[in-house]
């Protein structure tokens, strides 16, 4: 019984860690260890995310939490956006601020992506030579969006990925495993059997202006390509890493000048990079979902793969001439002449290919190996397994109660919100939420000082714009003019008292505004 309870606590702790509440997670792991002192998983997790993620990248456990500290400043000095156009190579962590290597704890059960590389096409107006973006991440299975969105855009939360920009990817000091260059087979031809990574080897004619993708057990590249330029070369690889990690390597390589025909070419360099990175982020999530249910292909499991037919991916012409419209799948003005569109008819965008990926995915029972790659002795089931939503709610609420007993209402709220996302009308969840909200509200209000007190903005305008706030915090900040008291701010916020108090408390905590 206690072992089972410990297991539940571990799962809940993992939720919390994924949500960025490292402290809350630690408490749960400790409690699990007290119940089941021999629990190896708890011991392992208690060692901390830094150790667990060591093979991937130096990871700083995130202290962010939606309720505890949903407010973060970028770890690095912010970059003047005006300077970005000229020197966007320094844009690490800016704008696409989620791509940082500091926050993501390792995933205990879901397969992890150890690295992702993207070679972003050069943009002629800015650079003459090829420009590469190296995107690397500790995991693509980012935590699910939380029930209540964080008020401050986190630089550390969803997927901890580093962006480094180099002129030449081959010279770039890649923090992670670099992708070996492989030849990609032409669409329609069967993939070669395997390579040293344990995955089916891929080969494809990748001429300088070709746009080809290979997918193993995931529709990721398909979606990606629909948004990329016609002349890009994309490789996606889920490479097993020493039997422990699964890595995704994505290269996008486009020749100079090719972008002028593509939909994204008109975007500024930084926006394009952000767009591509955002796309990849979506891809990574999709891949994570697929792998969670199907598991990545390995040589051991020999995942069945069927090349999509008829030719779902538009292929750029191999010549250096301007790409014909038919090869630009994302361009609305130039639809693909292929009779069978790679996108399902009902898909509103290229990202909705999930509904009809065009790939035969193996059934769940067909793959048993992928999880073994990570942790053969893991008994942890994905907490959000769609097969058992009810039991997950019980587990989440049980863990929330434990956290409330430990007086960790912030962590409890995280779990309650997740439980309510699964079962919105759960009376226990509502009761627990009310209780935790009341406690947290008192806590937040105590940080504000007197309700009749008039807060003042302590930073100058040009300092404020470098903060990492979201629009709701921005709205509250705009209302603080030295004449409005806290009580009036509650009245004008248009948000619930709880949300308003949380935002104001965070602004006080961060030294942005004064207490009352």
């Amino acid at each position: 019984m206690s072992a089972e309870r410990a297991q539940q606590l571990i799962e809940a702790g993992i939720w919390l860690r994924l949500s960025g509440d490292g402290d809350g997670a630690k408490r749960l792991f400790e409690q699990a260890l007290r119940l089941d002192p021999g629990n190896a998983k708890a011991t392992e997790l208690l060692r901390g995310p830094g150790e667990a993620a060591a093979p991937l990248a130096p990871v700083k456990p995130s202290t962010e939490s939606q309720f505890g500290n949903p407010f973060s400043r970028p770890a690095e000095a912010p970059i003047n956006p005006n300077a970005m156009e000229a020197d966007w190579g320094m844009a690490t962590g800016y704008q696409s601020g989620i791509y940082r290597s500091e926050a993501m704890p390792p995933l205990p059960a879901a397969p992890k992506v150890s690295a992702a590389q993207v070679v972003v096409p050069p943009v002629a107006p800015v650079r003459g030579s090829a420009t590469n973006v190296v995107l690397s991440g500790t995991g693509f299975s980012a935590p699910e969006p939380r029930g209540t969105p964080p008020i401050f855009g986190s630089g550390e939360d969803d997927a901890a990925v580093d962006i480094a920009v180099d002129d030449d990817v081959s010279d770039a000091p890649l923090p992670f495993k670099t992708t070996s260059s492989r030849r990609i087979p032409a669409p329609g031809s069967p993939p070669p059997v395997s390579d040293s990574s344990g995955f089916p080897a891929r080969s494809m004619d990748s001429g300088p202006r070709s746009s080809n993708t290979m997918v193993f057990g995931s529709p990721v590249p398909q979606a990606t390509m629909a948004q990329l330029e016609p002349d890009e070369h994309v490789e996606v690889d889920y490479g097993g890493d020493e039997g422990e990690d699964v890595s995704v390597d994505v290269d996008v390589d486009v020749d100079e000048g090719a972008g002028s025909q593509a939909p994204m070419a008109a975007l500024p360099v930084r926006s394009r990079a952000s767009a591509i990175l955002s796309q990849l982020s979506v891809d990574l999530d999709m891949a994570a979902d697929e792998i969670r249910t199907q598991g990545p292909p390995t040589t051991k499991s020999s995942v069945p793969f069927r090349w999509p037919t008829p030719e779902p991916f538009p292929v750029a012409p191999p010549s250096d001439g301007p790409a014909p419209a038919a090869s630009a799948p994302a361009s609305p003005a130039a639809p693909s002449p292929q009779p069978a569109s790679p996108l399902p008819a009902q898909a509103a965008s290229a990202w909705e290919t999930r509904a009809d990926p065009g790939i035969d995915l193996p059934s769940q029972g067909a793959v048993s190996g992928p999880l073994d790659l990570l942790s053969s002795d893991s008994r942890i089931q994905p907490a959000s397994s769609p097969s058992e939503p009810g039991s997950n709610v019980e587990k989440l609420l049980g863990a929330a109660k434990d956290l409330i007993a430990l007086d960790d209402h912030t962590g409890a709220m995280e779990l309650i919100v997740k439980a309510q996302a699964i079962r919105p009308d759960d009376p226990v969840a509502a009761q627990l939420r009310e209780r935790s909200e009341a406690t947290l509200l008192t806590m937040y209000e105590s940080k504000l000082g007197k309700r009749e007190g008039v807060p003042r903005v302590l930073l100058k305008d040009d300092e404020i714009i470098w903060l990492n706030l979201d629009h709701r915090a921005g709205f509250m900040l705009a209302q603080i003019d030295g004449g409005v008291c806290f009580e009036d701010l509650f009245a004008v916020s248009g948000m619930s008292r709880f949300d308003t108090a949380r935002i104001l408390a965070q602004l006080v905590d961060e030294g942005v505004i004064s207490r009352g």
Partner: protein, 613 residues
């Protein structure tokens, strides 16, 4: 000599209101408690249940549109079924429902408020500001209304004053007040134009001034043209560029729109004095999707650009001026002076357009957004002061008449007629064998009957059957000094008579008004007693703390004595009783415990003094 009772003048505007008084012979604006001369005429019910008035209510007007009432002036005193009310309602986000007498009610939370109640909340706020300024209660006021307000609207404004606890000495026309602020009643005689471009409405009036009479000879305008339209142009411009850059329509986000509105208004005001300004709205929007960093809106707006954006609005004002002057058959050269009223007239482009049209420089020296309130204060002072200044006469604001055959109006009492007054006119039957005649009493300036306000109607029966035009009926209009209109119709042959008495109604009946006033009194009493109990409790708790502080010293210094034991025990009893009383809401219990504990504290302090503890 006893100090004179303070009296105030109030400009109850559509968008903003101002309160002023006369001090040492000079009219001055009374700042509100937030330090501003203008108080937004906005009332809101916050999600917390708190009733907000003024700038704090305006701040959340867009984020809480359903429970924020603004531009109540467009509705006050109107009938729900009237076209003007329906036009106004169509443009308002809050809920307006019909009252029992075809009046209008505004839904705020679970309650329906009559329009005078809403305006009363704004007036009460202004009254409170004035009371803080004077340091004593203010009970008397002069309130201004647009020149085109009819009796019902004026009465409703009076009712609002009454609900706010003010005795409304007089309702004064806004252009008249503006003219008074410049002292035109004495120094200037002749025609003057008043160009009033406010936050939500535009009015232009021509006055004939002289010998204490301010005759509004022409008035016109657009009740849906004002500063807000200028703000909206800026907002559109900002949103368009932002959408172009980021693909986000900020107008769909209420928080963003609220900030845009504030930012646009601020920029517009700044551009009245500066050539360019920066609209700086950091963290205006957070793109959807993971990792979207909040976006800033930073844009330079030049005066030139603003003028380009709003050029057509300025031209509209000029066109209306032309219309009004044309209808009044007044040429620009006939005008002696021109007064600018309303904050929007600070905009250089407006000043330039007005100068060009009227071919003269507008009067300077009084802030255009304060001039009406200052004029009202001047009039209030004249009404209560010993030294008689320009004293306005009570006049009928609009013409009164009866409906005649063909759907037209026969005016018996033209507008601006000094009251009391009485007029009789003879009418004939309009068709053969007509035995009854319907007398419809109308108020307004239109020649078409249905375009005027129907004040009441009655039927005179028993007329002799005769050919059309043979039977004569005397119709008499009589207005007494209280403004009560009596209309009677008398058959000249038979002497048979029917009459009706019309009292201007602001939409509230006497009973309803009384009920509201009683409710106000109860609330006031409740608030007072709540305040008192709060204060007494604080006093009691302070005494508890003091006794607790001194008690150990007494216990120590009287240790081992019967006296000491008794004193400590009694003190503890008193403390317990006081703490129980402090937890309750019984004022009498709190007061008696304050007394008891005060005595205990005195006793203990005495013991400490004597024992040297």
């Amino acid at each position: 000599m006893a100090e004179r009772e303070p009296v105030i003048g109030i400009d109850l505007g559509t968008t903003n209101s101002v309160v002023a008084t006369v001090q040492a012979g000079t009219p001055v604006v009374i700042k509100n408690r937030a330090g501003s001369n203008l108080t937004p005429s906005v009332v809101a019910l916050a999600k917390s249940g708190k009733l907000l008035v003024g700038s704090i209510a305006k701040r959340q007007a867009i984020t809480n549109p359903n429970d924020t009432v603004y531009a109540a002036k467009r509705l006050i005193g109107r009938k729900f079924s009237s076209q003007q009310a329906q036009d106004a309602i169509a443009a308002l986000p809050y809920t307006v429902v019909p009252g029992e007498h075809d009046d209008l009610r505004v839904k705020l939370g679970d309650r329906h408020y009559a329009l005078p109640e809403i305006s009363a909340l704004v007036l009460r706020e202004l009254k409170a500001d004035a009371e803080q300024f004077f340091g004593r209660p203010v009970k008397k006021a002069v309130i201004t209304v647009p020149a085109y307000f009819n009796d019902g609207q004026r009465q409703a404004t009076k009712d609002a004053g009454k609900i706010a606890g003010l005795e409304v000495l007089r309702i004064v026309n806004e252009p008249t007040a503006a003219a008074l602020a410049y002292g035109f009643g004495k120094a200037v005689s002749g025609k003057i134009a008043v160009f009033d471009l406010g936050g939500g409405t535009f009015d232009v009036s021509v006055l004939e001034v002289g010998n204490g009479v301010f005759d509004v000879i022409a008035t016109g305008g657009d009740t849906f043209l004002g500063g807000e339209d200028f703000d909206n142009r800026i907002i559109e411009w900002l949103c368009f560029d932002f959408a172009k850059e980021h693909g986000i329509d900020l107008r769909k986000d209420r928080m963003a729109l609220q900030r845009l509105k504030d930012g646009a208004e601020k920029a517009k005001i700044e551009l009245s004095t500066a050539k360019e300004t920066q609209v700086n709205l950091p963290f205006i929007s957070t793109p959807q999707g993971p990792g979207g960093a909040a976006l800033h809106l930073q844009k330079i707006l030049t005066r030139e650009k603003l003028e380009e954006l709003c050029g057509d609005l300025v031209q509209r004002t000029v066109k209306i001026c032309d219309q009004v002057l044309g209808e009044a058959k007044v040429r620009q050269t006939d005008l002696k002076e021109m007064i600018l009223v309303g904050g929007m007239t600070r905009m250089p482009k407006v000043v330039e357009a007005v100068k060009q049209y009227f071919r003269r420089d507008p009067c300077k020296g009084v802030h255009p957004d304060e001039v009406v309130a200052l004029g009202a204060a001047v009039q209030a002072e004249a009404l209560t002061g010993e030294a008689s200044n320009v004293l306005l006469l009570d006049v009928t604001p609009q013409s009164l008449g009866v409906a005649i055959a063909g759907g037209y109006v026969r005016r018996l009492i033209p507008k601006n007629t000094t009251v009391p007054t009485s007029v009789t006119e003879v009418f004939n039957t309009s068709r053969d064998s007509q035995t009854t005649v319907k007398i419809m009493v109308l108020q307004g300036e239109s020649e078409i009957a249905h375009q005027n306000e129907l004040l009441g109607e009655f039927i005179l029966t028993g007329l002799r059957e005769a050919r059309r035009g043979e039977v004569e009926v005397d119709v008499t209009f009589d207005i007494n000094s209280e403004g009560i209109v009596s209309v009677s119709a008398k058959d000249r042959e038979t002497g048979q008579q029917q009459s009706i008495q019309v009292t201007a109604s602001g939409g509230l009946t006497e009973d309803e008004l009384k009920h509201i006033l009683d409710e106000q009194a109860d609330l006031l009493l409740e608030a007072k007693s709540s305040e008192e109990i709060k204060a007494r409790k604080a006093e009691l708790l302070q005494l508890v703390a003091d006794v607790k502080a001194v008690l150990p010293k007494v216990a120590k210094s009287t240790q081992g004595t019967d006296f000491g034991t008794q004193v400590v025990a009694k003190a503890n009893q008193a403390l317990d009783a006081a703490q129980r009383a402090a937890e309750g809401e019984n004022l009498a219990a709190v007061v008696s415990n304050v007394d008891a504990l005060s005595k205990t504290l005195n006793l203990l302090n005495g013991v400490v003094q004597r024992m040297g503890g």
